[in-house]
Structures are given as C-alpha cells and as structure tokens.
Symmetry: C2
C-alpha cells in the first residue's frame, strides 16, 4: 500500500518529509508557482534542487513514474513540481519546454482570474480557451507537461479536455454537487474528464469540503464513493491541497498576487481571511492510512482503495510525462 | 496650424525627426511596446532617453500638454510614449504607476489576443473586462495613464468606456462601416467613445483603409466627414500607425510575439506577409499639410481642420495625463 498526493504546498521541512515517509507517501506533486514570473519560478526550482541535495535520504526529484518506484523501494518520496498558474511561461510558448526541462510536470492554465490561456473560476464570464491557450496546450501535449484545470472556470475546463490531445487533470477539487464552492466541479466536467482518461484529485482543503473543517471522514469517503459511480474508480485519486505550517501571508499571496490594490479574500472573507483549520482527521501526511481505512469502510475493495490512494495517479504519471507518442 | 499624430512606430532616425519638423508635427505618440516585458520596455524607455539627449534640437520628451506648446514654440516635436499591449505591467498593478513615472502616457488593454485585462479583436469570444482589468483601469485613471482600445474587441471596448472614470481613446483605427477590417470599429463603439469624451485617431495603415494602398485622399477625407457626423468634429484626430523604414520582421513580431510556434499573419496573409505599401499621399510626416487641405476640400471649416489635425488631441492631452482630479 502506498500513497500519492497530487497537490501540496507546505512550508517544506525535514519534519514534513519524515511525515511523508511515515505515512507511506511515495510521491507528492508540489506547487512552485502561484503568480511567480519565470525568473521567480527558476528560484523556486533552485530551492528544490537544494532540498533534493540536502534531504536525499528522504526525497528525490520526480520526473517520471519510474522515480516513484525508486522512491518506494528506497523508502523515500518523489517530489513532482508544478504550477498553479501559467505565470512562469509569461507570454512565451518556448518556456513550456524550458519549464519541462527544469522539472515541471503540471501547469494550471488559469488561477481564479483570466490568464493569457484560459479563464479562472472567479471571473464573471468564461469565453473558453484563448488563441494562445490552444497553442500552449498543443505544446504541453508535445513535451509532456500536464494540463491542470483545478482553478479554471467551467467552459474553459470543458474546452481544455476537448482540445488537449492527451488526458488532463483536476489535481485538487471536489464535486460541486457535494459542496457548491466556486472551486468545485460540475458533474458535466467530471464526466468529460473521466471519459477522456483524465484524473480528479480529491481536495482536503476545508473550503472545498462540505461543513468545512467539521466535515467527517465518513462524509468525505461517501462523497468519493458517489464520485466513483460517476467517474469510475480508476479516474480518481487525491490532491489534498495541504498547506502545512504556512503563515496566512501565503494565502494572501495566492489570492491577491500582484493584480489588485484592494484585498481579495477568495474563498475566505474579511472576517475569516486566513487559512482555515484542517479537519481533525487530516493534519499531515501521517493521516493517509486512516483515510484508506475510511475508503474500505464505505465499500471500496482493497484494489480500488489502492488505486485511489496512489495506483491511479501512478498509471497516469506513467503515460503523461514523456514526449507525445513515446508512452 | 500644427499636427499631432497619436500613433507611430517607425524605425526612428534623425531623418524622420527632421521630416516631422518639416511637416509641422508638434507631437507624436510613439509605441515602445508590443509584447515587451517590463524589463524589455525599460530598455525601450532608455533608448528614448538617449534619443532625447542626442536629438535635443529636434525632439523632446512629451509628458503633458505644456510640452507640446514648448515643442511648437521651439520648432521641435514632443514624443509621447505608449504601449500597444499591457505586457509591460506584466501581472503587477504597481507597474502602472512606475510606467507612468518613466513617461508612458497610453496603454492598450489588449493587442489582438486575450490579455490579463481585456480581449483582443482576433479572439473568437469577448467576455469583456476581467477582474484584474477593472483594477488596472482604476489605477490608470488615478495616475493619468490613458486607456487605448485600438486592438481590443467590441465588448471589452464598450465596457472600458463604461468602467473608466476618465475618457479613453482608440488611437488608431477607422470605422468598420467604411472598411470592415477586424481592427476597425463599429458605430456603437464610436458613438459611445464620443459621448464619453474619448477620442478616435484615424489610421493610415493600409489594412485599415478601404481599397488598401489604393485608397484615395478624397475617399479618406470623406470617411472623416461621415465620422464627424457620428462623433462630432472635436472627438476625432489622427493616429496614422506609420511604421516608416521598418523591416518586415517587425510586423512579424507584432503579430506573433512569443505566443505561437506557428505563424500568424494578422491582417496580412501567407501570400502577403509583410508591411503593405503606404498610400501614395502618405509616405512620411511631410505629407500632413496635404491631408489638411483634403479635409478642407470635403467641407470642414478651418477651425475644424485645425482641431482634427492637432487641436483636439492637444485638448485631450491637457486633461488626460495628470493625476485624477488635478485637471
């Protein structure tokens, strides 16, 4: 039994890497850009190069599925890097390949707002994928940089699924039918995603959970069971959105970047501007085994549990990160 | 009698500055960014700083309407700087004020494609001004950086007119009713622009002219007369889009930037990819007096001719470039 978490953005530390190890987490997709420019993102790649060197007993750079197997066999965690916004490629399609060469494996086409490529879920209107967006999706397909539409709006997401020649992802979100957050996804989107061979990662960020921090493990697992009926048990996994040990200044950066002189509270509010508390049953990476038990308790078979907890993402990684046609 | 041309992007030289002087051109709005990043735009500001020093007998930096008067009295040309895309502010609203401090006075909210702020006229869909766009318009209004929607799509343009607290511009375009180029503007847009106190600059770029390079001076002036009926004679001027002495690589940069690995031909075509030839009656800045004569020939009064040729832009500049409320 192993776990893959397809979205975390924690204040990385040896403590956290040891918790990953204790929890059986063999791979994590770690965000390195929310609004960062290319140059700022390069600094974040560098910071990971340093962590990989310093903590080589605990983590290793994740570039393809084989690295996950290496991590598993050596008792470490493969860290895959990704962007929550296309800001790192700025206006330059040539930076898609450069970022892949540096180690990026996921890129969201938009983050809450309109980007050069697609629309974010907080815009009033969603015109779908832009001219540049179509070109960039083709380039991402070519090099093996996976499209992620977690923070994108409905039409843009449906168009990305249709336009992309390779399966795409929603690394961290839940069904809107369960909890109607702007960030959660409609059944139409989830169905189209599954039919195209894409993957959904269930989020454990409290604003994406029914009843927020008070959501129970059972309610969460029952939601997964209902989603499995819609998408099939092989097209789902986890993307916890865990932001462990981060100060509230980080959630302010996520929401406001450099785009406004006012203050945007995103899924929070002026009265509740910071990170919400985590549910009691998911504090850190050591809590994954209990979530696996929860999946068993709502009726998933052991092989389905293994798939949802990591095997499904591993199969996806195996096909997604190389050049087009090479898989 | 003096002339103001509210859009040129020539391969700047002493020859061109002398032609401006010979033609009675006291002010030119010169583009310094099509797809340039902030840093690249700073280099273009620097290049103008150097030109202002080297050719101080012919040109001077244009920052406000008084500089036009200085230019007129000293027989020089005031050069106002502007952007055809918001690329210089990247994703950072604080760069609006920085760019104004460096001398920028106009900024288009989009150039053909979708930007972070608004939609360009080549996109299939136009959702209007984005979340960041609303914030940036307010900031431009505050510091006195003028909104220009020349390359923007219809709905975005109408919304910019409505949202902006200060009059906006379409520095270089013609009425779509005269020549149905994607870049030309509907009567709805022109009417709303005039009613809000904005300005239209008539373009002399052949792709914006009926019959292209074969367009006659009379046909051009008759179009201006019809537009004056729609907008009034005080809300119109010139923005020639003159790209004198530029190689075809420049029009390729304008069209393709860094957003595609394919080749976009914009208003041209694979068979006709370069700059089109200019109409015979507008080769360079020495041809303005004959255009003034053409306006007289289609029935404009001398004071109307003076307004269209320069006075209307001067009045607009007088109100537009200072901080909000200071005019």
């Amino acid at each position: 039994m192993f776990f893959i978490d397809c979205l975390q953005y924690s204040a990385w530390s040896e403590t956290i890497f040891r918790q990953m190890n204790a929890g059986g987490v063999v791979a994590v997709h770690a965000t390195i850009a929310y609004h960062e420019s290319f140059r700022e993102t390069v600094a974040n790649f560098s910071a990971w190069n340093e962590r990989f060197q310093r903590h080589s007993d605990l983590i290793l750079p994740g570039r393809n599925a084989a690295d996950v197997e290496t991590a598993r066999q050596s008792g470490r965690t493969a860290i895959f890097l990704g962007f929550q916004n296309p800001s790192p490629i700025e206006d330059d399609i040539a930076l898609v390949e450069i970022c892949h060469q540096l180690g990026a494996r996921f890129m969201q086409l938009s983050y809450n707002n309109q980007s050069l490529l697609a629309t974010g879920c907080y815009e009033a209107e969603d015109p779908g994928i832009t001219r540049m967006g179509r070109e960039v999706i083709a380039e991402m397909n070519r090099v093996g940089l996976v499209v992620d539409m977690s923070h994108s709006a409905e039409r843009s997401t449906l168009e990305a699924i249709e336009i992309s020649g390779r399966p795409i992802t929603i690394t961290h979100a839940n069904p809107k039918a369960w909890h109607p957050a702007l960030r959660n996804k409609s059944d139409d989107v989830l169905r189209a995603l599954a039919e195209s061979g894409g993957m959904l990662g269930f989020s454990l960020y409290p604003h994406h959970l029914k009843d927020g921090p008070a959501c129970t493990l059972t309610a969460f697992c029952e939601m997964i069971a209902r989603t499995a009926e819609l998408m099939g048990p092989a097209r789902i996994g986890f993307g916890s959105d865990l932001c462990q040990d981060q100060p509230d200044s980080i959630v302010e950066w996520m929401r406001n970047g450099r785009w406004t002189r006012n203050r945007d509270y995103g899924e929070g509010s002026a009265a509740n501007p910071g990170f919400p508390p985590q549910p009691s049953w998911f504090r850190d990476n050591r809590d994954w085994p209990a979530i696996a038990d929860g999946l068993g308790a709502v009726g998933f078979s052991p092989s389905e549990v293994a798939g949802i907890c990591g095997g499904n993402w591993l199969d996806f990684y195996d096909a997604a990160f190389g050049p087009a046609g090479a898989a």
